[in-house]
Symmetry: C2
Subunit: 662 residues, 2 copies
């Protein structure tokens, strides 16, 4: 058997598990007719968005595929790899989200049987996304490995680039959509019309629920799928360039395969105890998958006779993934010290709430950075640059578990919405509300993982890039490299500026449309007439897909220009300047937003005057500011740095020949 | 004559001009008794702060001087240079601010004679700071050059480090003070008590006016003085390391000297025309000083028989300084497109106002970056690394003009306050209000210069650092360098998190104190009893000086730890990762804040409902959020990156011997 046979098998297992889980979840009861009506609207909106997004991606993708096919050596093979990567990514997002928008209603219904039942329903619904990601990733990569000879390993970058392109669209588009809808719904609903969250009379309410799915489920899935795919590719490229041993080719794929097993087992750790402690169940799940993965990887290392110096980086990667989860929780979790600080500041008004929120986000950057830095150093001293590659693989090997927990978020959020809108009894809404709160936590904490994963995989890609452009030294005393570093550090700032602006702009459009409906549809606010949900969904869809063009072009074109005009060393500088700046900015944004979100929840729990108080109003403003920071701009940077990195490697052969500079 | 004789003469001319200007301004009439009482309170508060700050600096400074004296080779000489640098910097801040707090009242009084008279009073008051900075800088440096032999040029870093240390305290402490007072005064005054800006019944009003002086005048002066000093030092160090010709030693100092002349001449360009266009006068001033400086530098290059390849970088530097001024104005000026966008978003509430404000700040980073990058490339291709050094000198040679225009800001702000509090007639208040608005613009635009100057001088220092630690290559493919870059990119985030938090915390203390006074002092709100201004001033002083300890320790200790533990290559990485990340973050913060500030003013001018409307309330929140971004965290990063850079060079000989890593 070839080494990729094992990963193919692991991939098939993962996909089968995903389908099995989907089957299990979907056969659960889906509630009464009122619930079904709401769920149906969400489902339709989400599917419509994903279909339109697909059209946009197809346009870009086909143009890019043609360009690759014509201009690059081995164009056909690259295009095949590109298509496989893109399809695997989209399938993940599509399948995952389609199950998620069907699990939300079943979670609400399961809540009638109790907390654990609802929890497990949402969890297994989320698991479909998680296992689809690793499954399609491993299958796609293994098939390409069968197709290419070992000497053609560098063609795998096409696979990574395919995943990157889809991720860029799904993450950015989904991010703009979800927050335009959320901010728009809140602005007009809560502030102007004084409606509670998830009130069916708010015409933007369905768009808001759709947004959770296209952003946190599909967008996040594409993002983490991309990290998973490019990390494996980077590890193989590094092995191809440096170690060149059969073991070093096999090891990353085997580690990824054990991750599948560990993730399956971890699902059984996640049970809510008698005290109803859901957070504990999630920590058990992640901690469990880490321990199981570590044990399996250790056994694997022994059994295959691989050197222990390879195991240490993998272990470092596993620890990083757990650490990033826990650190994010420390800074932004419910009742976290920092969150209470922000809530306290809300007493002084919206201004101080946001000032403290931004301060918390800025503060939260250093521990993750130190963790990643130590991981890099340990891995490097154990196994050289290859160590950095497999540390990233180790970290991403928990992808299935993390994505499961992440997708749990939009499902429980929607379940809460459905329970609220369909007027389910208070006792049941208490359960869905609790799960919704936990879902908010998982959305935030898994973002820490996604950001760290993007950074680590980009570092691995950077190493692969240097090899691909045949540079053994990239000297920062060369002004071109310094210039590259400067441009790299600028990219995340300009990129996220467009996203922030788009959310503000799109939210305004939503507000206007909602106002129009309130004005023109008689009996709307009395609950006698139904709002035109579809129209709002449509506005969000169109605006999101339109707004992503400029930032995406910047991400795609900048490395090409720098590579051609300033040369490959400057492009190396760009990558190495971009990664840490993006990493910091993404953490800052994501954690600022999460802290302000939970500060609002803290006030709503009854502190500092509770709901309706001045502190509450102030904290709502903070939450609004935090929304695009944490769900649009911050996470989109993940996709940006990976697409810039993969493009740079993809075009490396061209830069080698045509580039100016040095 | 030695080359430093010329710079000594230029320095003496500058100082004489500063004193002459001070004399001219101070003999102007200072208004009635009521005005004097208010101005006296501001003066006392500001002086008290500067004295206490001096104590703090002395404690740190003496400890550091002792450590330098004991542990470093040529310790005594370094300590002398360090003391000269620190004294020159403090003298600048002290003298400048002392004149500023006496010019404010005279500006208000001059407004009775008309706009131009008030404008020129404020301008010449500000000129004292500007010319003191370049004067003391040139004199200090020239004296040290007389003291040291040419082979001891590297000892000049002590001078730069002295300036850095003072700047770190003055910028950070002043920044926290000014915004704690401003936010505190606004929160309780405008929101709770419904008092207008600068109402004498607000106990925090004097602290607010003091803050403008210690922050925008003394803090900014120390910051730009530092850039000026370290840039000249860096240029000399680079000359010492690379070119080693007499011309290359002389050229930077001569360029700085022509800058003095150009800046003096430029003051005569700045006259308000009949239409009362003050902005035009300022642009004429800066543009004029640029043109004059360019002509003088050209003449100088010809006359001394210096190669034209040296002139081009200087010209590039001059253009950069003007460009950064104009770009900042483009993004954040009154009626700027971006500002109107933010104001428009204020209609949707405080949340969207801040979202757009942040978006504008993020967007504003790219043009300055491209300008600096082109400047670096042009300079390098003209004159190698030395070109980068003299480009920075060229840019900073306009320091006197820029600081003049900057210090104009707090003076006119205070003049407005005094006019308001002393109840001057409406026609006069209209003049002071107009100047106040222009002062806000100059505070914002000169910040662009200060941030760019800090970046450019740090790049020059980085080049000098590499030479000092004897590295001819700093390879980013070395993981230690990558780790350094990551840590460097993290520094501005963690540093500014403390500043943001301090402002939030200190503002809260102020709010509590104001509430206490309103509660306990009878007749306060009726204007029958005077508030205890001094108590509020005291709280701001103590909190600001206490809060700066941790961030400053981080800035000082991090490069030392990285240098010792990870080695000099990693420290090189740290510098090269820190500079662009700081540059971007500082621009983002400063321009976000300025845009939200002016958006508020735009609404107040009567747009979208004007004062008192919902849009106005929303824009006030944005202004509050922007305050610490633009006046505390953003500009403080300038001082941080320079102190980290100078420490790294200062300790270079030690790292050479003891450092681990490679």
């Amino acid at each position: 058997m070839q080494f990729y046979d094992y990963s193919l098998i692991a991939g098939v297992i993962a996909v089968l598990f995903a389908f099995g889980t989907a089957y299990g979840v979907l056969k659960k009861p889906d509630g009464n007719e009122k619930m079904r009506g709401i769920a149906q609207a969400i489902k339709e909106g989400a599917t419509a968005y994903l279909n339109r997004q697909l059209m946009t991606i197809l346009v870009f993708g086909i143009i890019i595929a043609i360009l690759i096919g014509i201009f690059l050596t081995n164009g056909t093979s690259l295009v095949i790899a590109f298509i496989v990567g893109a399809i695997a990514s989209y399938l993940t997002a599509y399948l995952g989200m389609n199950v998620a928008v069907r699990t939300n209603i079943r979670t609400a219904q399961a809540a009638t049987k109790g907390l654990d039942s609802a929890f497990r329903t949402a969890l297994f619904g989320g698991a479909v996304t998680g296992f689809a990601a690793v499954g399609f990733g491993l299958i796609g990569l293994s098939l390409l490995l069968m197709l290419f000879t070992t000497s053609q390993l560098q063609l795998l970058i096409g696979f990574g680039f395919g995943a990157s392109l889809v991720s860029l669209f799904a993450r950015v588009g989904g991010g703009i959509y979800t927050k335009a809808a959320d901010v728009g719904a809140d602005l007009v609903g809560k502030t102007e019309l004084n409606l509670p969250e998830d009130d069916p009379r708010n015409p933007a309410v369905i768009a808001d629920n759709v947004g959770d799915n296209v952003g946190d489920c599909a967008g996040m899935a594409a993002d983490v799928f991309e990290s998973y795919a490019v990390t494996l590719v980077a590890a193989l490229l590094i092995a191809f360039a440096f170690t060149k041993t059969a073991t070093s080719y096999a090891y990353p794929l085997l580690v990824a395969s054990t991750g599948v097993i560990a993730s399956i087992i971890s699902l059984f750790f996640m049970r809510v105890n008698k005290e109803g402690n859901v957070t504990r169940a999630l920590y058990f799940g992640i901690g469990g998958s880490l321990v199981v993965a570590a044990i399996l990887d250790y056994a694997l290392t022994i059994m295959t006779g691989t050197t222990m110096t390879y195991f240490i980086p993998v272990l470092a990667g596993l620890v990083i993934s757990f650490a990033l989860f826990a650190i994010t929780d420390y800074y932004t979790g419910n009742n976290a010290k920092s969150v209470i600080k922000v809530a306290t500041a809300a007493q002084g008004g919206a201004g101080t709430d946001v000032i403290l929120g931004l301060a918390v986000g800025l503060r939260s950057t250093w521990v993750p950075l130190i963790v990643v830095v130590i991981g890099i150093l340990v891995s490097y001293y154990e196994a050289g640059v290859y160590g950095i590659g497999i540390a990233a693989v180790g970290m991403l090997s928990l992808t299935a578990t993390i994505l499961t927990i992440d997708s749990f978020g939009p499902i429980t959020d929607n379940a809460g919405g459905i329970a609220e809108m369909s007027g389910m009894p208070h006792a049941i809404r208490k359960i869905t509300d609790k799960l919704d709160a936990i879902g908010n936590m998982t959305k935030a904490t898994t973002k820490g993982f996604a950001i760290g994963g993007a950074a680590l995989s980009s570092i691995a890609l950077f190493v692969a890039f240097a090899q691909a452009v045949n540079l053994t030294v990239i000297d920062v005393l060369n002004p071109l490299v310094v210039v590259g570093i400067f441009i790299g550090a600028m990219l995340p700032f300009i990129f996220s500026s467009f996203l922030m602006e788009s959310v503000g702009y799109a939210a305004n459009l939503m507000v206007e449309e909602v106002r129009r409906q309130v004005r023109t549809i008689k009996g709307l606010l009395q609950g006698k007439a139904k709002p035109d949900y579809a129209k709002v969904v449509d506005i969000a869809t169109v605006t999101a897909l339109k707004s992503l063009i400029i930032p995406e072009m910047i991400a795609i074109v900048t490395p090409i220009i720098v590579g051609f005009v300033l040369g490959r060393a400057a492009l190396g500088g760009l990558l190495v300047g971009m990664i840490p700046a993006s990493f910091m900015l993404a953490l800052f944004m994501a954690n600022s937003g999460a802290a302000m979100d939970n500060a609002k929840k803290y006030v709503e729990e009854g502190h500092f005057g509770g709901k309706g108080s001045d502190a509450h109003k102030a904290s709502v403003v903070g939450d609004t500011v935090g929304d695009p920071l944490k769900d649009t701009a911050g996470p989109s940077l993940n996709s940006m740095i990976k697409v810039v990195s993969t493009i740079s490697i993809l075009l490396a052969p061209v830069f080698l020949v045509y580039a100016a500079g040095i």
